[in-house]
């Protein structure tokens, strides 16, 4: 049981008449429930588009996305998306950002407040509940963004290069943090990244996409136990292999 991509394709209309931009080509893949899967590929190849299709922000031109055999409905609560640019609502405090989902759902104030406070604690945001995004550091903002998504308990968590704009120390700390959270919850994570080191450190499986129109070139199983040694030999080997495949695509 899991997330299935069946012959997924996406074409955008181009600038000229009759022109089109072919972004995704016949993506066929299964992602087992509860796995941490990274998607990696050359810039602009369509990784983000794929996530947006799963999240329901775009419609596939052909093919389907199924979860446990059923097609995903528009706006389904089974899927959550964490954006690269945090996308926090600047006029809401940390607490109010986190409780946005439950608020929309109609959960009453006390319940959603206490739930949000749970996440504040879980994500080490204590003391910043009433601050506004402009007062938070990049790492904090990303934690708020993730909390905001996870509070809705989606079964599939999509993450679009969430740590891309952070410095490497913060990024490493957040990666470890993410793993801890994930290990307790067991959701499926589909994690788009540029960064091979990151993919190797985090994932059970790495899917490599070709350049546009994107197809799946190769998938790697990363069987290593966690916590992993970033600079250890096993990680290096897998990293080398992935880089080899990637560099072919970048040419």
């Amino acid at each position: 049981m899991g997330l299935d991509f069946l012959e997924l394709s996406k074409t955008f209309p181009g600038k000229g008449v009759g022109e089109s931009v072919h972004v995704l080509e016949n993506i066929q893949q299964r992602i087992e429930n509860g796995r941490f899967v990274s998607i990696i590929g050359p810039s602009g190849c369509g990784k983000t588009t794929l996530l947006r299709i799963i999240a329901g922000l775009e419609k596939a031109s052909a093919g389907k996305v199924l979860l446990d055999g059923k097609e995903l409905a528009q706006g389904t609560e089974e899927v959550g998306l964490v954006f690269q640019e945090y996308a926090l609502f600047p006029w809401r405090t940390t607490l109010q950002n986190i409780e946005m989902g439950p608020e929309i759902k109609g959960v009453d104030k006390e319940k959603r407040r206490s739930k949000a406070m749970e996440y504040i604690n879980m994500f080490n945001l204590n003391g910043f509940e009433n601050r506004y995004p402009r007062e938070l550091s990049g790492g904090m903002k990303q934690r708020v963004a993730i909390a905001r998504t996870l509070i809705m308990n989606p079964r599939v968590v999509l993450m679009d290069e969430p740590f891309g704009s952070l410095d490497s120390q913060t990024r490493n700390a957040l990666q470890e943090f993410l793993l801890r959270i994930w290990e307790k919850r067991g959701d499926t994570i589909v994690f788009v990244t540029h960064n091979v080191d990151e993919a190797v450190f985090l994932s059970d499986q790495i899917i490599v996409l070709s350049k546009r129109p994107a197809q799946i070139v190769k998938t790697f199983e990363v069987g290593l136990p966690r916590p992993r040694d970033r600079t250890g030999q096993e990680c290096n080997e897998i990293r080398r292999e992935v880089l080899k495949v990637l560099s072919e695509e970048i040419k």
């Binding site: 999240a55 706006g75 899927v79 998306l81 996308a87 006029w91 989902g101 809705m152």
Partner: protein, 251 residues
């Protein structure tokens, strides 16, 4: 407000008073500061025309502005949100507004009198015209300036159209709305005084007061009245800014 801010105006006033006292500036062209102060006393105690005291003129003018302005805001803000949200609606309505907008509110006075008579309704209508467009245009631009990613973030949190409207568009556009509101009240206040030049039914209004002072040839009262108008305009703006900074703590 530091002491130095008052130094230059004070020096200018002293020079002015000096020049007036020796009649280098003749008092029928420009009364001296002392004469203006005495004129102000007459406005307060004697009234222009005699019997119509200053505070009543102020109240009537404020009432007219408040009425026209409230209607302008109540119409322009929702309409602006809708027009910012729906580009179809924007394209449809915009040409009409762009045609009407350049017409100075004062040019509407004869028509306003035909439609609404000489009374508070025609004055409020003129104010409405002056305040409506800045509020509308700034609201539209406020919506358009909301990063689309925030709307997508709301969608991934399962927001319906109504939620997006109330929880994203409206709060996101608030800073621009306030800019529009400040511009609108400024124009509204200026327009009111000129609108009252053409006649008020109740015999009260700051514009009417100044015209009467002109009729009875009291330039000292004219200038005192102008000062009152300026000070009130300033206070209104300060008040709006205070409300604004309280509501937009997040910027």
């Amino acid at each position: 407000m530091k002491k130095e801010h008052f130094l230059i105006p004070l020096v200018l006033i002293l020079i002015w008073q000096g020049l007036s006292s020796i009649q280098v500036i003749p008092s029928y062209k420009l009364p001296s500061p002392v004469e203006i102060l005495l004129g102000f006393k007459d406005l307060l105690i004697l009234g222009v025309p005699p019997g119509n005291l200053l505070h009543n003129h102020v109240l009537y003018s404020l009432y007219r502005v408040a009425l026209g302005y409230a209607i302008a805001a109540l119409l322009a803000i929702p309409l602006g949100l809708l027009m910012g949200w729906s580009s179809g609606l924007l394209k449809m309505i915009r040409p009409l507004f762009e045609l009407v907008r350049p017409i100075p509110p004062l040019a509407w006075i004869p028509i306003a009198i035909l439609w609404f008579g000489i009374g508070i309704k025609s004055a409020a209508f003129i104010i409405f015209l002056g305040a409506f467009f800045p509020i509308l245009l700034n609201t539209i631009s406020g919506v358009l300036s909301i990063h689309p990613i925030l709307i997508e973030a709301a969608r991934t949190l399962h927001a319906r159209e109504k939620d997006i409207f109330l929880k994203v568009l409206l709060p996101g556009a608030v800073p621009s709305i306030f800019v529009g509101m400040r511009i609108g009240i400024g124009i509204g206040w200026m327009t009111l005084v000129a609108a009252e030049f053409t006649g008020v039914k109740e015999g009260y209004g700051l514009g009417y007061m100044i015209m009467t002072a002109r009729d009875i040839q009291r330039p000292d009262e004219i200038l005192a009245g102008m000062l009152v108008i300026g000070v009130i305009g300033l206070l209104i703006d300060i008040g709006l800014r205070a409300i604004e900074s309280r509501m937009i703590k997040w910027q």
